[in-house]
Point group: C2
Chain length 336, copies 2
């Protein structure tokens, strides 16, 4: 019989879904970035859980403070993609017996920092002994009676946009894991993208208020995978004519003879939002995205034809449905 | 520097608390059975997370279906103790690479069964590769504008009661872990208490409605530990004159020359509710506890003098502040 390793994460998730009863009051389909149910009075409760496991998810250069903070940030990023403000979180901490008091303080401070950075609080949790460090965060928020930005509303002709550029994390991870030497000037920026990711919460909340976003997803599985997910959920394809490749990632690619498209589209562990916008609403969305921290970048458009095409100077290439393959053997692919 | 193993779970939790910012809208103190915050409009959102780790928390005779179900039930039990109906849950599943498709189906069905048994739904989650099986459940519910039953309201003179008798799980665990031979007639009941625990949700909801319960806690850390927690939070002691020892546990103790008080008070992994009730409200609480599944048992009373005393036929002994020590080495003590 097939093992989890052979099945892969996506097949595992589908097996699990098949065996679950569907809640009648769900306001977001299974498999979107968050879960949401309508409660008495019509308010929508929003939940998300995502877990970091030491051996597979935490690069050795990442401090425990950074790991704990990141465990919160990656959950906040999914809330950002749906335009929902996080209120509080609970955390299950699996602690290996040899962690020190100082380590535990770092974990607590990292969790707290991640929550406070986005206006939320750590409300409680559970700890137990595990062989490997486990940080499982469950985030809660209320969407009131507002509609959430789902993955499923993009239509042909919609403008495709992102809240930032890509390729920094993939480059940073290469520096950390493959010990590639890089000029300090760009190294800092690339490594920082891995160790101190930021969720686009302000941007997501502002975009949700415009009412012109037809589909939205976070990009933690990589840009290519996120485009496929949003395309599948919306039943459209995408044509990209301005690939959002970060200049620092391009420079890193040139220096080390790497493919910048590979770094930007297939890297993963990036926390930009990828959105589709009604063409007549672009101005409104673009204004909303103009924040201190960044701007909304138009990268292409939704097409009736399925699949993701990238138009470059002299050729058009197909972007593959490849997600983020984890940095360690075992081919773990991040869920969301 | 002290390690996690030397610190123990309770000290670890206190270290973590010290480093967390306190949410201004918390409606339950840190360390109670659940977390709760007041949201816009005054409704109280209730959250709980509790994790099972394969090596330390799952006896070898427990099926994956049972483990997944139990991971839900132990969270529901904390909701029961606060009188809150669970609505939905999200789950982080850490899956070892050699689990089979069948194993994964069992996990999904167990999660679903646990949720449906108590009227809740599995709403989503995250999966990833881990060395050991990890089932981290986060449960959500809304308490509306109702006051929750906390640990902290018991006053001297209040009646102390439980929703059932104790000692079955501790006996069952001995049968499973120490391979003690027992007549099949009682073995089934004892082992069932370990493999198929039940949360007292109906009882908790009914008791909350009476308005006469002054303090409430679930007993997953063991009866003795739960009494200490409720005593500490309420600033009272307890005198027990009718220890709630299950007849099957007594028989098991006699047969195997064990101490029934040890089994009933220090066993843990039981999911009865332990409550204090205003004396003039006892009749009301007792009526509410009269359900198909059981009844509310008066076991003693709250006293001004701190500490827990057990009055037996010819002597009064002190119940120690000992919690559940896990069945494997490492002395993991369950949090709640």
């Amino acid at each position: 019989m097939q093992t989890a390793k052979q099945l892969g994460e996506r097949a595992i998730i589908e097996i699990i879904w098949k065996h679950l009863s569907k809640a009648p009051n769900m306001r977001v389909p299974l498999g979107d970035d968050v879960s949401a149910i309508e409660c008495e009075g019509g308010a929508i409760a929003v939940l998300k859980t995502d877990m970091l496991a030491g051996r597979t998810d935490i690069p050795p250069q990442m401090s425990l403070w950074q790991a704990a903070r990141k465990a919160v940030v990656m959950n906040v990023s999914d809330f950002a993609a749906k335009g929902v403000k996080p209120l509080g979180l609970v955390v299950s901490l699996g602690i290996p017996p040899d962690l020190t008091r100082k380590d535990i303080e770092q974990l607590a401070e990292g969790l707290n920092a991640g929550a406070r950075e986005y206006g939320a609080f750590v409300l409680g949790g559970d700890t137990g002994e595990t062989d490997d460090l486990i940080i499982s965060v469950a985030l809660y928020g209320s969407a009131g009676k507002k509609k959430l930005m789902l993955r499923s509303g993009a239509r042909p002709g919609d403008i495709l946009a992102t809240t930032g550029q890509f390729g920094l994390s993939a480059s940073g991870l290469k520096i950390l894991m493959e010990k590639i030497t890089t000029p300090p000037r760009i190294k800092g920026k690339l490594v920082d993208a891995v160790l101190m990711p930021r969720a686009r919460l302000i941007e997501g909340l502002a975009l949700a208020r415009t009412g012109v976003v037809t589909a939205s997803i976070d990009s933690s599985d990589g840009l290519a995978w996120s485009l496929y997910e949003i395309g599948r959920a919306s039943n459209v394809g995408f044509l990209i004519d301005k690939p959002p490749i970060a200049p620092a990632a391009s420079r890193f690619a040139i220096t080390h003879r790497l493919d910048p498209v590979e770094l930007a589209f297939y890297g993963g562990e990036e926390y930009e939002l990828v959105v589709a916008v009604r063409p007549e609403g672009w101005r409104k969305a673009h204004e909303a995205g103009k924040l201190k921290s960044g701007r909304l970048i138009r990268i292409g458009k939704a097409t009736e034809k399925k699949g993701i095409l990238l138009k470059q100077k002299d050729e058009t290439v197909e972007i593959e449905a490849r997600g983020y393959e984890h940095f360690k053997q075992g081919g773990k692919r991040r869920n969301d």
